[in-house]
């Protein structure tokens, strides 16, 4: 029995996958509200980044033989999603300054 089939590791993996989904739905449902762009952007960038990281980590535990690709995806997620959130916030508000 390899370590990925241990019930504990399988449990953690499923917890990460479900947790990532919950994050996704939490952030995405805020899109439907009538709040400001920055409020939604905060919810979205947190939920997309953390939720996706949790999903990819859950996948990493479940099927570890593709670990280089999944770690690359996690690094890309952490860097690009955060940067995109910042750029969108900067560009969407810079027009409002007097």
């Amino acid at each position: 029995m390899t370590w990925t089939e241990l019930p504990l590791v399988d449990g953690i993996s499923n917890f990460c996958l479900v947790g990532g989904m919950v994050f996704w739905f939490w952030g995405t449902t805020q899109l439907l509200t009538r709040r400001s762009v920055l409020f939604k952007l905060h919810g979205l960038s947190v939920s997309d980044t953390l939720g996706s990281l949790a999903i990819v980590f859950g996948l990493l535990l479940k099927i570890p033989n593709e670990w280089p690709l999944l770690i690359l995806a996690m690094i890309c997620l952490a860097v690009w999603n955060t940067m995109l959130g910042y750029v969108l916030a900067y560009c969407s508000t810079s027009g409002d300054q007097p």
Partner: protein, 84 residues
């Protein structure tokens, strides 16, 4: 389990797609499209890990990086157009 996660991911994807189609304000539309881009790349990654096919996984990582980079450039173009 990963099948259920994939179906849920596709359901989660429908909300920003609906929002992107119905929203008038350009920045709200950009928000929805950035959410679509990262969710689609994770869904592609899910499929690639399930099929154990690296080439699909590499496409997912490229979509993640280049997709977000493209949205950043578009945001800056929109900012400049707003100022002009």
């Amino acid at each position: 389990m990963t099948n259920a996660i994939l179906i849920t991911a596709i359901l989660a994807l429908l909300i920003p797609i609906y929002k992107a189609c119905t929203e008038e304000d350009i920045w709200q539309k950009m928000l929805a499209l950035s959410s679509v881009s990262s969710k689609v790349s994770i869904a592609i990654l899910l499929v690639s890990v399930q099929r154990d096919d690296w080439s699909i996984g590499v496409v997912a990582v490229i979509v993640l990086s280049v997709g977000n980079a493209g949205l950043m450039l578009l945001a800056n173009v929109l900012k400049r157009m707003g100022e002009a």
